[in-house]
Amino acid sequence: MYLAEETKKLTGKAASTKSLAELSLLETEFLGRNGIFNTQFDKLDISDKPRFGKEFNLQKHKAKKLITDRRNALIRKTEGERFDVTVPGILPPLGHLHLVTQAIREITAIFTPIGFIRRRYPEIDTDWYAAAGLNIPKDHPARDDQETFYVSENVVLTPHTSNGQLREMELMKKPPIKMVNIGKTYRRQIDVSHTPMFHQFEGLLIDKGINITHLIGVGNYFVQNYFGPDRRIRLRPHHFQFTEPSFEIDITCGVCQGVGCRLCKAGWLELGGAGMVHPTVLKNGGLNPDKYSGFAFGWGVERVLAMKYDLPDIRNIYTTDLRILNQF
């Protein structure tokens, strides 16, 4: 029978194939465009073609079925092979963003939807922006609290991000002013809750009719988004030269929700300072304090991080040990 010999040969060869790739080669050899079947058919005299056509198609169909059956058999065999799925994958290198970078990103993302523009102002600034312009004259006892590093008599490493207040007023010239200034700050102290370099985020909102309840509103909005929806803040009296009135801001303890527990002081934890912008500071920034009012707060990035993740020693944030940094 025409081509039956070839089909038989293929039957034997297909049965001995061990892989799908081998079978694919065999398929090309017999059934490809220039394969055995087509070549044989092409060799026929044109007048013989109609006579053998039916038989050719029958054999070719048989051959195709052989290949398909073998392919299915091989696939079934492969699927049944033993394989240890627990073998570890090959990892690409894993990198890590620093906790502070992640926190700054998160803080910025919280303030953006309520219209606060992120800023970054100089880390090394003149005494005017860091102190005198903020209503802290030279020789004033309030300078004690600042623990400032000096580069020269008139140039300091900013002990807080509040130098951005006057700079933002100068930049914007006119309210509304809404910024969150995040930057590096420096103080001359090192212990479990202080590093000589740290970061602060400074919120400043100046407009007509801004009052204390707005500060409370924005403070609650921040802590609910950063720490969790059941947290809230409260204000207590404090004193800063550049705000009037000034506040210490507490946040409800995350463990006891403000009732009082072993971890917190009667249900509340200190978050940071805030206040209504002092009229002298508005004046120094070129704004009319009779027309505009505003609030400002400056809180520690590391402090909120330590509170959120319960870090006992803030110095750990500035470790260079990759065994720690690679955990974040």
């Binding site: 690409p92 290198p93 990198g95 890590h96 620093h98 970078t101 219209g115 523009i117 970054r120 100089p122 880390e123 090394i124 003149t126 005017w128 020789d139 006892p141 309030a142 004690d144 590093f149 000096y150 580069v151 008139n154 140039v155 490493l157 006057l166 100068e170 914007m172 509304p176 420096y186 000589p196 370099m197 407009d207 009719g209 801004i210 009052n211 204390i212 309840t213 707005h214 409370i216 509103g217 924005v218 403070g219 909005y221 803040i233 409260r234 204000l235 207590r236 009296p237 004193h239 009037e244 009135p245 009667a266 002092h278 009012s293 260079t320 040990d321 990759l322 065994r323 940094l325 690679n326």
Partner: protein, 675 residues
């Protein structure tokens, strides 16, 4: 300023049924913060953080005045009692003993606001009564003897520092208050000798010996002791800036100095003196032996502030009525006169003239006594801003994230460094900004390069984590360059140093091509184009010169990439190859392109050919030359080199039709001629 106050001392001035817990809670919310309340046998002790500008509240009486106004808002009745301002001059006991002379001479009236003293005789030094001793101990003072204890007790009760001298140790019974001269020496009560800078307030006696470092600590020479029989009781207020200056440079931050520099009320000087005499009469057998001296040079100014109720309510965001406002202010000692239904004239009491100067100060008093915690929060409504944030900040985050995704770990090193790590890195610290008051030599300079810190980081991790290590930092460096005037705001422009953001990357345990590949991936991701790497020309520093390149995008210098030189590697004791990249991030960000432009892809397949070119040119040059040879060349991939034979895989494509082998061969022939 932190003070400890026993509950029993407080209740000498406060009549209330409120428990210590209630007092602590109410004060914390509306007045000075009570950091802790300690229960002790039969008593309590409050740890109080007296607010810096409220020196008037740093005493039992001061706290009582606050509590008496605050507690009624918590539903508890409270009344201020034994007010020292009610003590009259006539209450001073009569002198019956013979008069002892005391000459006081004030050389400069600008040094002292009020000076009061009185001579006492017949003194018997012994222990003070149990009650005073116990309260002092609870307040953190060591009980010594009746004389010293009574001065400390007066300070605890009224917040006015008091001193007592041994009259017989003051030569010539003469006290001359004057400015110190530079180099003068005084030994204080704690046996420490200070060499004075001059301009300090001191008292010398008739023999020209210094007997008091005023406002800071008494002199050893005139100290009272067990034998003291005659004494001078001494109550003053001083010029605050001088006290502060002396206290800071002598590093004697005594409680007295901390109080005097914050300007306690001069009106309280005489009541304190009288109360002191009474206590000394009662507990030390003292008899008055002289007229009381009272030199009053600087009386507190009378101050009246106009208060508009509407402005107060606008600032607080709450509707207070006139009655509440008046009652709060009156309770705190202000005198309130009504000008109209919504405006008042408010007289500031003598003890508040330094912290209450403008109407918002009064608004603070009203709001805090009522309780900030009672106010409801509101989100402000204000117009959207037209300003935008600096794009650098977003690109920084994107670049950091990209590097983290490539396997780099971000490190934050301190901006402050020591000279040693710069020396180790063969870099010059000399032109760095130095702190005038560093904390330690480890934090002495502001770094002008991130590289020494990163090398230190690699060294610190040596043996702790497996190689390869990939780390980066994106931080400012600081250069003492001057800014053009006006660039940085209107005040003292040009004085502040330059802050320049730098991205530094370090790899340890990788080869040149892998290390460079990370940098090239970063540059490609942010679409910096026309990149060239030119051999590094500069001498010195941490770089191995023949394996280091300057990186350019077009004409713009971006930074340096290269190998750490062996000498520095060994100084940091590092194993494995270290490659560093140091990029000017502001230049990077200004050239970065984070927007997309669409280029259609060719419908026709690439033809891909390998070609080996023999040439003495650099590989970088060859790639450039290959690329410009024909527009049909779409991609050039470097494979490897054997001496000066370099193999590349080249993609050819014509977006309009299929390429023929012949066309490709023609280009290849030209490429082979590149030499």
């Amino acid at each position: 300023m932190d003070i400890k106050l026993p509950d029993s001392t407080l209740r000498k001035y406060l009549l209330t049924k409120a428990s210590a817990e209630k007092i602590a809670e109410a004060l914390t919310l509306c007045g000075p913060s009570i950091e802790r309340l300690h229960k002790v046998t039969g008593n309590y002790v409050y740890d109080i953080e007296a607010i810096t500008n409220r020196v008037d509240s740093a005493s039992a009486f001061g706290i009582a005045r606050e509590a008496a106004t605050i507690l009624p808002f918590f539903g508890v009745k409270a009344k201020l009692i034994n007010d020292p301002y009610d003590i009259k001059a006539g209450e001073l006991p009569e002198r019956k003993s013979p008069k002892l002379p005391l000459t006081v001479e004030i050389r400069d009236q600008a040094l002292v606001k009020r000076f009061a003293a009185i001579v006492l005789d017949g003194i018997v030094v012994k222990d003070s009564p149990k009650e005073i001793r116990e309260e002092l101990e609870l307040a953190g003072e060591r009980a010594l003897n009746n004389l010293v204890d009574i001065t400390n007790y007066l300070r605890l009760c009224f917040g006015q520092p008091v001193h007592i001298f041994d009259y017989d140790k003051i030569s010539g019974a003469k006290m001359i208050l004057r400015e110190s001269k530079p180099g003068e020496k005084i030994t204080t009560l704690d046996d420490r000798t200070h060499s004075l800078r001059g301009g300090d307030i001191v008292i010398e006696d008739g023999d020209g010996r210094l007997i008091d470092l005023c406002g800071i600590m008494g002199g050893k020479l005139s100290q009272v002791d067990d034998q003291t029989g005659r004494a001078v009781l001494f109550v003053q207020t001083y010029e605050p800036k001088r006290i502060r200056r002396t206290s800071l440079y002598t590093q004697k931050r005594t409680l007295a100095a901390q109080i005097f520099e914050k300007q306690p009320d001069s009106r309280l000087v005489i009541p304190t003196l009288i109360e002191g005499v009474k206590l000394l009469v009662k507990y030390a057998n003292a008899k008055i032996a002289g007229d009381s001296i009272d030199l009053y040079y600087l009386k507190p100014e009378k101050k009246t502030i106009k208060l508009d109720l509407k402005l107060v309510n606008d600032l607080i965001g709450f509707k207070f009525d006139a009655k509440t406002v008046a009652s709060i202010l009156t309770g705190l000692g202000f005198t309130v006169k009504k000008f109209s239904p919504a405006t008042f004239g408010v007289d500031v009491p003598s003890w508040r003239t330094h912290d209450v100067t403008i109407w918002p100060d009064l608004a603070e008093e009203i709001a805090r006594i009522y309780g900030y915690f009672r106010l409801e929060g509101k989100l402000p409504v204000s117009a959207h801003l037209t300003t935008t944030t600096d794009p650098l900040l977003e690109i920084e985050y994107q670049a950091k994230s990209f590097l983290a995704n490539l396997g780099f770990t971000e490190i934050f090193n301190y901006s402050l460094v020591g000279a040693d790590i710069f020396t180790k890195a063969d870099m010059d610290i000399d032109h760095s900004l130095a702190l005038t008051n560093p904390l330690t030599s480890e934090f002495e300079y502001l770094r002008r390069s991130l590289i020494p810190s990163l090398l230190m980081d690699l060294a610190n991790n040596q043996g702790k984590v497996d190689l390869p290590i990939r780390i980066f930092e994106l931080s400012n460096i600081y250069l003492p360059a001057l800014h053009p005037p006006g660039e940085r705001g209107s005040h003292l422009a040009g004085e502040t140093p330059a802050e320049q953001p730098i991205l530094a990357m370090a790899s340890q345990g990788l080869d040149y091509r892998t290390g460079k590949g990370y940098l090239e991936a970063l540059l490609a991701k942010f679409r910096l184009n026309n990149l060239t790497f030119k051999p590094f020309a500069q001498k010195g520093g941490p770089w191995q010169i023949n394996q280091t390149a300057e990186v350019y995008s077009g004409k713009h210098f971006l930074g340096v990439f290269g190998r750490l030189k062996p000498a520095v590697k060994s100084a940091f004791n590092l194993k494995g190859d270290v490659y560093l990249a140091n990029l000017d991030f502001r230049a990077f960000a200004s050239l970065a392109n984070t927007t997309y432009t669409y280029t259609p892809i060719s419908e026709y397949p690439d033809m891909i050919e390998d070609i080996t070119i023999e040439s003495n040119r650099t590989i970088g040059e060859l790639i450039q030359l290959i690329k410009v040879e024909s527009k049909l060349i779409t991609k050039v991939i470097y494979q490897d080199s054997l001496k000066n034979k370099h193999t590349f895989t080249i993609h050819f494509n014509n977006p309009k039709r299929n390429l023929t082998q012949e066309e490709v061969n023609q280009i290849k022939t030209k490429l082979l001629k590149l030499a």
